[in-house]
Structure formats: C-alpha cells, structure tokens
Point group: C2
Chain length 170, copies 2
DNA sequence: TTGGAAAGTCAACAAGGCTGACATAAAATG
DNA sequence: CATTTTATGTCAGCCTTGTTGACTTTCCAA
C-alpha cells in the first residue's frame, strides 16, 4: 500500500483512487442512503408496536450489556436523561424492561430485558442482522473489513471507545 | 475470493471471517456510532444558523442537482411534501434557495441555491468532507472500496438508484 | 453531617416527521 | 372543450424525540 505525496490521491493496487470533492460527496451520500436502509426494517416492526427508534436503541444496548445503569446508557446514547427516561418509563410500564435498584449503590437502576423485551429485541435485531448479512455477503469479506475500518475512523473518539467496549472476542 | 459452503463463514485471504450474530451486531453498532460522527460537524454549523438536518439535506441535494423539482426532492428525501415544504419555505424566505417556475411545465418549481445558499452548503459539506477525508485516509484505499460496496448493498433498491444517479464521472 | 452525585419528575418548548383536507394552476386526456 | 390528473402549496392537528430548567428524593462519601 503506497501513499502519494499528493493531498487527494491514493494508490490502490494499480488504479488511482482520487479523493476529489466529488468522491467524498459520494461517500457522504452513501452514508445517507445506506442509513435509511439500515433502519428501514426495524422501523416497520417498531411502528407495529407503537415504538420509535429511541426505544430500539435502548432495547439494543440493554440487551448488549444487561444490568447496565441509566447513566451508562446516557453516555452511549448521547441524549438527555429526560429523553431517555421517557423511553425507559414506557418500556418498564409495558413490561419489556426491568429496572432493578442497585445493591451496592441503591441510587442506581440496573436495566434488564424481560422475556417480552428479549422477544422484541430478537425481532428487531434479526431484521437488522439479515440486511447486514446480505450486504456483507454481497460485498464480500474484504469489503466488510474496509466497511468497519472506515466507520471506526468516522466515529468521535468517545463513541469509538463505546464501540470498542462492546467486543466479545476481540 | 472463495466462498465457503458454510452459511456464516467467508474466506478472506488466509483468515476466516465469520458472520456470527455478534459480528453482525458489531456492524450494526458501527453504523450507529459512525452516523453520529458523520452528522456531528454539520449539526454544529446548522445550530448556529437556526437550521436542522432537514435543511442540510435539502441544501445538499439542491446543490447536487441544481434546478431539481420539488417532486424530485421528495423522492430522494423520502418525506412528505408538507415536511419538505416547511423546510423549503424557510430556505426561500431566508434567501438561500430560489424556486423558479418551470418554463415548459409551469406547475413545477425548479430549485436553485442562491449565493448565500451556496455559501452555507460549502460550509456544511466542507466540514463533512473533512471528516470523510480523514476517515478514508486513515482507513486506506482498499477500505474505501469496501466501505462503499457494503453501504451500497445496504440501500433499498429505490435509494440505490438515487445514489447511482448522482455520479459525475462513472 | 453535610455536600454532591444519581436518578426521577414536571413543565414547557422546538424540530421534524406524519395524516387529512383543501386550493390552485396547468398539463394531459377523452 | 370538459374532465381528470399532476405538481405544488397550505392549514390544522398529531406524534416522537430531542432540548432546557427547576425541583425532589435517595444515599454515598468525605
């Protein structure tokens, strides 16, 4: 992998990949259009349940890290506690999330999915994984590496930390 | 590039890339966290001007395709005309967008950025391009190819058409 | 014991989606 | 020419999800 002295050109194999403004604009539009596809399937499911993306996000990260506290969730989601609280309240009322008072620190609420919550999470993530799986397969293994590399570079440092935290096996 | 018979394994060079649910979950979170980074810089600029992402999207696509009609924009943005109209109205009132009555079809409004509109568009897209450029450079040219390939596969067919439409030189 | 952190609550507000209904002008069609 | 369809705009009202500000309760820790 060689790097040119030029500010906008990179060498890939034998073909030049120019990072012109137009190339970058295409990357920007790729993100915009792809994010729509990325959320489309879960959105349909959520509407049936009377929920929105905010509920999906909460359910996702509670599932990823069971027992996480409200404060942890706030840091990951990057919203105000009032916003998150509104979402969590409905999820608890609807019996999808359980908020257990902390044992060591009783101010904290540890969040868990109930069986019903796990069921919804499964439906949502399965739909999203299916699309991701098809995209990965069609694009090929090398593309998947590149996809992840670019997205990781696009994150703010704080978000990248959160992202790298959620690793199971490296 | 070889494909294994297995449903979840793909070969990349000599290392196996397993598409386990956990790998897919990481892809999902990568999208979530990266999209935040992707919008963070323009969001800051928009707030200073009292605008939101909806304005950014409109300005972006009017800049991409000057003279585009309201209906075209609706198809690209995937919102209702009421939603878009609210945004366009403020942009026209503020002198960032000009809506010219069509010559051949006088029902149509052809949308153009004014000089002030181009100025804002430049500020927004420059911020976004800078992040994209750094991400691309850090990830490397091969990663950029993969990034685009996966994102394109993630789009709904209709959106992919819109995406591929916006090509200048192939 | 007192300060401050964690969490919850209430109120108010705004952006930006949505639907439904209606108006207007102009093009297209019979 | 009459009718229908299309493109656009607009008003009213609703929802989700974000915001800020103020206030309370709980309770850990200095």
């Amino acid at each position: 992998m060689t790097e040119r002295g030029s500010s906008a050109a990179m060498v890939r194999g034998d073909s030049l990949l120019f990072l012109t403004d137009d190339q970058l604009r295409r990357g920007i539009e790729a993100m915009f259009f792809a994010y729509r596809g990325f959320t489309a399937d879960p959105d349909r499911i959520l509407i049936e349940h009377g929920y929105g993306r905010a509920h999906h996000r909460a359910v996702h990260f509670i599932n990823r890290t069971p027992g996480t506290t409200v404060n942890n969730l706030l840091a990951i989601l990057g919203v105000t506690k009032q916003s998150l609280n509104r979402v969590l309240r409905t999820l608890v009322e609807d019996g999808l999330v359980e908020a257990r008072v902390g044992k060591r620190d009783k101010r904290e609420r540890h969040l868990f999915l109930t069986d019903a919550g796990k069921e919804l999470e499964q439906a949502l993530s399965e739909a999203q994984r299916n699309r991701m799986r098809v995209a990965f397969r069609n694009a090929g293994p090398e593309a998947v590496q590149g996809f992840r590399a670019v997205l990781e570079e696009m994150m703010d440092p704080e978000m990248r930390r959160q992202y790298l935290d959620g690793v199971d096996q490296g």
